[in-house]
């Protein structure tokens, strides 16, 4: 999964207080203004966009804290080896 595809979903649903293009892949999205409310909307949008279902064990703060963390989670669910 490309980081750019994830970035597009985060940009639309993460409700960040900064421009996502200024953030590195490992930047903390919560520190960039993503609320827990927005993070749930982001999870729903990611499930829809990438046709995955995040299992219970992934529904934790850390799994969605950065672009890189989201990419790792989606890669794991779609059977791709971590980049």
């Amino acid at each position: 999964m490309s980081s750019d595809a994830i970035r597009a979903v985060v940009k639309e649903h993460g409700r960040l207080s900064v421009d996502i293009n200024t953030l590195a892949d490992d930047a903390d999205l919560y520190a960039a203004g993503m609320t827990s409310h927005a993070s749930v909307n982001l999870m729903l949008a990611l499930e829809d966009r990438f046709e995955v279902e995040f299992p219970e064990r992934m529904l934790r703060r850390r799994a969605f804290e950065s672009i890189a963390a989201i990419k790792a989670a989606i890669d794991e669910l779609t059977g791709k080896s971590p980049a």
Partner: protein, 406 residues
């Protein structure tokens, strides 16, 4: 209460090895709370409620018995008690005086945040030692005027210059603020930080001012003296807890709040049912051989009380099961459970106290009767409204969209 799972680092995380090494600490703490409840909290409960005044007698007695520092770890001079011990104490105090129990509960929520998130900081280690020596009472300033009740966002920000900080917060409520030694306040990390990028700051009363902006003349929970204040404070940045508030909230403040609150509400509901039982017993004695009509309602109220007790104990058990797994504590499943605990227990508290009132009838409706239930009913409504259940249900409604397990 069932035996808690034994975890590797029980001392640091204050998980009681309940039923394993049987320290008897719980019994000792509950015995002290029972005595203070009977001698200081219960005799003043009506006056505290009527006059909406701080329950000074009971809080002083708790101080004398060193009950304010029971959660401080043993290596810092405290007793290193568990969250289930706190639950048992709050329940016991709730049987006598809701205001005493709520002040104690709110203090222990702040203490738990400091113990669990300040233990790596030399400043907070010393502060915890002082909590034992001085029996410091800590208040909380989480809500803020203008954030619409969302405590996970702040408008105010910590302004730092070198190692010094300044903080000004317009707080709609600071429970027992004028009676507290110190206040744990949330704020944005810095003036340019996002609204949800918060920290917890230990505001020292000797370096702050409280300008009262609102009163506390309420239906119930009148003795918590939860006035509104403009808080102005200054100090050193070492007073900021090293962990971000987002983590403090999910790992400690929210679960411990819901546990100690629901425990004291269980105490209020139990006392109401105890009064109803006494009333029915009196009726039965007047006419031996006849079951009083209210006895059926009492059986029903007992059912609800048992449901409430099980709900509270399950919440405590779930938290202690995960307490050493900070990652799991940020999970959506855990958040949903802790939210349900608060909503269920507060609804049951209203239901049970109302049932007790209808069982006692006019004797319960009157304020000068030993069967009076008025205070219990009024206090129980506060349970549903402090962090409104509708807000919590709405949060769960959203979380359930993504949550997978039942």
């Amino acid at each position: 209460m069932s035996a808690c799972r034994v975890l590797a680092d029980g001392e640091r995380t204050n998980v009681k090895k309940d039923g394993v090494d049987g320290t008897g600490l719980r019994d000792e703490l509950v015995a002290k709370a029972t005595k203070i409840g009977a001698e200081f909290a219960a005799p003043n409960a009506d006056a505290v409620d009527r006059e909406a005044r701080f329950p000074i007698e009971a809080i002083d007695a708790l101080r004398k018995e060193k009950m304010l520092s029971v959660f401080v770890p043993k290596d810092l001079g405290g007793l290193g008690c568990s969250v289930s011990d706190l639950s048992a104490i709050c329940y016991t105090l709730g049987l006598s005086c809701s205001a005493t129990a709520m002040v104690y509960a709110m203090h222990q929520i702040q203490a738990a945040c400091i113990v669990r998130h300040g233990h790596s900081s030399p400043y907070f280690q010393q502060y915890m030692r002082d909590m034992v020596a001085k029996q410091t009472l800590i208040a909380s300033a989480t809500s803020e005027v203008g954030v619409g009740g969302d405590v996970r966002t702040s408008i105010c920000a910590v302004e730092t210059t070198g190692s010094a900080f300044k903080l000004e917060k317009n707080a709609p409520v600071i429970s027992y603020g004028e009676h507290a030694d110190d206040i744990l306040a949330t704020a944005r990390r810095a003036p340019d930080a996002a609204a949800n990028d918060q920290v917890s700051v230990l505001v020292r009363r000797d370096a702050s001012t409280l300008e009262r902006t609102g009163g506390w003349d309420t239906l119930g929970m009148r003795g918590t003296c939860s006035n509104g204040y403009k808080l102005k404070s200054a100090g050193n940045t070492e007073q900021i807890l090293p962990t971000p508030y987002s983590e403090i909230s999910s790992n400690t403040m929210l679960p411990v709040s819901h546990i100690v609150w629901t425990s004291l509400w269980l105490g209020i509901a139990t006392d109401a049912v105890n009064r109803a039982r006494q009333f029915i017993r009196g009726e039965a004695r007047k006419k031996p051989g006849h079951v009083p009509p209210g006895a059926l309602r009492l059986a029903e109220a007992m059912n609800h009380l048992q449901t409430m007790r099980a709900t509270v104990h399950d919440g405590v058990h779930e938290y202690e099961r995960l307490i050493d797994d900070p990652d799991a504590l940020t999970g959506i499943g855990f958040a949903i459970k802790m939210n349900m605990l608060k909503v269920s227990a507060s609804q049951l508290a209203v239901e049970i106290t109302s049932e007790a009132l209808s069982i006692c009838g006019m004797a319960g409706y009157k304020s000068d009767s030993k069967f009076s239930i008025g205070r219990h009913v009024r206090d129980a409504y506060g349970a549903m409204l402090m962090i409104n259940n509708d807000r919590i249900l709405a949060a769960n409604a959203q979380l359930l969209l993504i949550h997978k397990d039942a």
